[in-house]
Subunit: 228 residues, 2 copies
């Protein structure tokens, strides 16, 4: 990691807590429909609906709300009372207003790394959701550039690196998702550091173990300071 | 308009048809609820709901879908059959899949202006909606940079101009919305050309007449070639 010039941080579950809030909402959603199906089955149906809708809605809370509504109709065979639809709208708006809980040592780590590297934030999801969280977090001042994309694949990383006007070898991505933050980055010749988070969305989970000269894993953010 | 270096184009209803598709969907939505209230009242309720939800949902089709669902619950006093909710979900997905209808002479105008200026696209809305339309339009190749923001206010334009590394006087914005494309741009010392479109969303409409040395209005895109 000697020639790194720019460090990009993922946001959700790397800088701040995100996935657990979605899980909490999923639980409330399953409870709402418990007369129709067991929680586990509803959860599976919701997941299937979310994946089928990704091409329409992308990532983010609004798509999650729409998929919950679609699932509620399907699971109840259109028998669910309209109060449940109303509740889903409320759950979504509540999710949008959750406080931002910054993960341990993040501020100190950004402060220290910002003195040696150009820092950017690179996250996928809904534009407004992500901007709202960034502003609430108070972390914006640490970043030279904010990149919010609809997907984190090789093409998007190549574009970002071109935009930053650096070589791929000078780019390091740090995040909690092997699938979105690490693998595409390694594939284009850049570096990746994985910081696992205790809760990962099914869609982001992969089983393979990564062995790659440009790859490292740390258990928590402050260990970054020993490497960088 | 002598020192212009970068021309930014708005997208919806400047490069391609957008608002009429929303209107079409609104009409279907009002028809769906005609047992409960007259179309005009439903439309007003929907508009009020959309504005109240802007801070949560921002612009774009997903927020529009969620606001239609919320309005259907309110207007029917939670009496609407769930089939109507299902229809709203379908209307939204159909809206996402509309073909792109590029406005008259746009390709020729972009081709010609691209030889003399750096062209960018600057649009507000949902990230995925806008990217989807841009790709379908085939117009991406004309633009050096694509900027999709959640709001088009002075702050966003200042950021874009800083990013483009030019003086405000070297920036020209072209679009159909006086409120989003012209007024904030004039306020920061840049140039604006307004191309009115026959259909404008209530929220984007303003009544005042603009008189400003950096402002021009043309009736159609090809007139730009006589000015620039």
């Amino acid at each position: 990691m000697e020639n790194i010039e720019v460090i990009a941080f993922d946001a959700d579950d790397t800088l701040w807590v995100n996935e657990p809030y979605f899980r909490e909402t999923e639980e409330k959603f399953c409870k709402l429909l418990e007369d129709y199906m067991p929680a586990h089955t509803i959860n599976q149906e919701l997941f299937k609906t979310e994946i089928a809708n990704l091409k329409f809605y992308g990532y983010g809370i609004k798509g999650f709300m729409l998929s919950m509504i679609e699932t509620a109709l399907a699971v109840s065979d259109k028998q669910v009372p309209l109060e449940a639809i109303e509740r889903i709208l409320t759950y979504g708006k509540e999710l949008m207003q959750k406080p931002i809980e910054i993960l341990d040592d993040i501020e100190m780590v950004l402060e220290a790394l910002g003195k040696k590297y150009r820092l950017v934030m690179a996250t996928k999801g809904d534009l407004l959701d992500q901007q709202r969280k960034l502003i609430k977090s108070g972390l914006e001042k640490h970043f030279h550039h904010i990149e919010i994309v609809s997907e984190k694949k090789e093409g998007e990383y190549k574009k970002l690196i071109r935009h930053l006007d650096i070589a791929p070898e000078a780019f390091l991505m740090i995040g909690n998702s092997l699938k979105s933050d690490i693998i595409p980055v390694l594939n284009i010749g850049a570096h990746g550091i994985h910081i696992p988070f205790h809760t990962t969305w099914e869609h982001e989970r992969i089983d393979s173990k990564i062995e790659h000269p440009n790859f490292k894993q740390v258990a928590r953010a402050k260990e970054l300071l020993g490497i960088l």
